[in-house]
């Protein structure tokens, strides 16, 4: 029976993503024509994460993985597939369903000098352990004036999946990113997933690593450099996914895919959008964002989470504070609807940003007129 369950799940992804396959409008499509180095190889985000975990565990014996179903089940979303066989039950630990307990245990192990990777099956469940993430992990280095550092990674899927309802769809980027002492990363592509997870595991501070369930199965081209085991991306640096000059669109995680699709549509209408993949929510790469807005003079922020006090709010304010004189239009925010996530497919569609929302906001920022330079 165990074998049958395994097969079923690995074939189509977890039960939670079955609906995802029948709701194509929610799936991000990566364009292989974007600014990646010329690469023959493609890799799914899932494999990117798995290989990053594998390589970091191999390189440093202090790194270990704990969470629900990470071991024998091969990972609820198969991210930790093969790791139990390779590293054994001392380093890949299946935990009971007790987030507060195992998160605290992870932080305590980090105090003592180990490098835990704590997996939350989704970040919704991290709320059960949030005291340990904030009060036991994030603040300890400060309160102890540097005696207690906490080299821990909290990772797992964040934000909306498909059809999973209100309690399983929240985006926690804004909550965690507001806390000094934490670092918060959000990969989009496989290159992001590999580079940022490796950086997170090597980092001496607590890192919240926000993945996205609907991206796990997406393939992206990866260069030889990305595949190398020493590959690492810098923390705190955003990536310009697509250069442009008429409007800056910031996004992270799955929304980067939607922003790129929006940019394609806008290009056909003569608006050359610059798409920034934030990669790092805390520290936020204000320099890259502001430099971009100083070039384009217009800003649209995109996020999946609740709008009030969200990531977009911080980015908009940063731009207003630092680059007010450069703005030619009011800043625009696209975010999830200000409601708990509904279940019905039609309502769900209206609760999450769609490509047309981003296009509309970008046009508003451009006053629906075509900047002269865009015609060239």
């Amino acid at each position: 029976m165990f074998g049958v369950v395994r097969q079923k799940v690995s074939a189509g992804g977890s039960p939670l993503t079955i609906l995802g396959q029948t709701l194509p409008f929610l799936r991000a499509v990566a364009s292989p024509l974007r600014s990646y180095s010329s690469a023959a190889k493609e890799m799914t985000v899932r494999d990117a994460l798995n290989s990053a975990l594998d390589e970091e565990m191999s390189a440093d014996p202090r790194v270990f993985l704990m969470g629900e179903e990470v071991g024998e089940y091969q990972g609820a979303y198969k991210i930790s597939k093969g790791l139990l066989d390779k590293y054994g039950p001392d380093r890949v630990l299946d935990t009971p369903i007790t987030e507060a307990g195992f998160t605290g245990i992870g932080v305590g192990a980090a105090y003592h000098g180990l490098k835990p990777v704590v997996e939350f099956m989704t970040f919704n469940f991290s709320m059960q352990a949030i005291d340990h993430i904030i009060n036991s992990a994030a603040k300890s280095n400060y309160m102890s004036a540097g005696q207690l550092s906490v080299p821990i990674v909290f990772r797992g899927p964040n934000g909306a999946a498909a059809g999973v309802g209100a309690q399983h769809s929240q985006c926690y980027a804004a909550w965690y990113a507001s806390c000094p002492g934490l670092k918060v990363l959000a990969p989009y592509s496989s290159e992001d997933a590999r580079g940022l997870l490796k950086a997170a595991i090597r980092d001496p501070d607590p890192v919240v690593f926000l993945e996205n369930e609907l991206l796990y199965g997406e393939s992206f081209p990866v260069s030889a450099e990305v595949l190398d085991s020493s590959f690492c991306l810098p923390i705190g640096k955003a990536k310009i996914e697509k250069e442009g000059k008429d409007v800056t669109i910031t996004a992270f995680s799955k929304m980067v895919g939607l922003a790129l699709q929006a940019a394609d549509i806008l290009a056909k209408e003569g608006i050359n959008a610059e798409v920034i993949n934030l990669r790092s929510i805390r520290p936020l790469d204000r320099a890259t964002i502001n430099a971009s807005v100083r070039k384009t003079n217009r800003l649209v922020t995109v996020e999946e989470g609740f709008p009030q006090h969200g990531i977009g709010a911080e980015i908009c304010t940063s731009v207003v504070e630092e680059s007010f004189g450069y703005l030619d239009a009011p800043v625009e925010r696209i975010a999830g609807a200000d409601v708990p996530m509904p279940y019905a497919a039609n309502l769900e569609r209206t609760a999450v940003p769609q490509v047309e929302d981003i296009v509309r906001a970008a046009k508003r920022a451009c006053y629906r007129s075509m900047p002269m330079a865009a015609a060239a």
Partner: protein, 398 residues
Amino acid sequence: MALSRAASSTPHANLLKPLAAAISSSSSFFRRSISTDTTPITVETSVPFTAHRCEAPSRTVETTGQELVGFFRLMALMRRAEIAADSLYKAKLIRGFCHLYDGQEAVAIGMEAAITKKDCIITAYRDHCTFLGRGGTLLEVFSELMGRQAGCSKGKGGSMHFYRKEAGFYGGHGIVGAQIPLGVGLAFAQKYNKDESVSFALYGDGAANQGQLFEALNMAALWDLPAILVCENNHYGMGTAEWRAAKSPSYYKRGDYVPGLKVDGMDALAVKQACKFAKEHALKNGPIILEMDTYRYHGHSMSDPGSTYRTRDEISGVRQERDPIERIRKLLLSLDLATEKELKDIEKEVRKEVDEAIAQAKESPMPDPSELFTNVYVKGYGVESFGPDRKEVRAVLP
């Protein structure tokens, strides 16, 4: 109490060392003819241990004259320090929260006598004496309480956030119950590293009902971790008596499938015996719970008079009958290991030490304003941080 003893004391040179040395069995402590005797003595604990799912250790504890004098000195120092902290708080030199340990000293002392600095201790916010037991200095204590640079957390932590990682002391935690899973995590790391050492996670009767305790205990038992959970049962969770908070206040039994031992927490030798037993158990068989029956003379914190939910008679009764320092004093006198005058001299000396440390701590400056932005991260990547007016105060995190 039944006892036996051997030979007389031998003179040693007087060494003025930090109090940590006072309880280390390899250092010498001497003042005129006070006992530096290391010949074994056996003493019976005040009451027998009560066991749950294990066989209680013997009531007969091995000790030495030197150890007992060391206990007296260090407990007197801890007592004096906490009383001094009370005055400093009333003088408004200590701000915010201040949770005092006087009455509970035997737990810190007895535990240290049974373990090494490779073993880890983690506790909640009533941490001043536990920190002293792990080798922290009076200067670090008073400076931290007053928010000065010489503090153990450089003034950035305060009363509830004392740490001494090099001596296996992991704090100092303000959130009730959080230190328990953290302590189990320390034990996890010790087992992972094959350290042959154990971790003690201390908590109160108030925290004993926390869900995360049972979550962590379950994992400790599943994974055979060398974790020892120590309930310092002073019978009141802030203003709530144990019988009002716990359906079952037999905290040593609350581990259910995990063995437990109930200990007279006012008897330093009983605490020592129990911790020794627990360490041996944890290294072989996984987690165990120790319930220390203890008492705090002060209220929960300096903002609690401590007399609205318990009678003054109760407090003075415990002081009369069970005070941990008086117990050791009586023992030393009855065993002829010290004279009354010698013990009084120790108390005077200790008082002087505390006063000097306070004077020195008062000289320590407050942290430099730039310290607002230090230690946010180990590695800040040159990122910017902001003061309340970000156009006025910004800093780069190294």
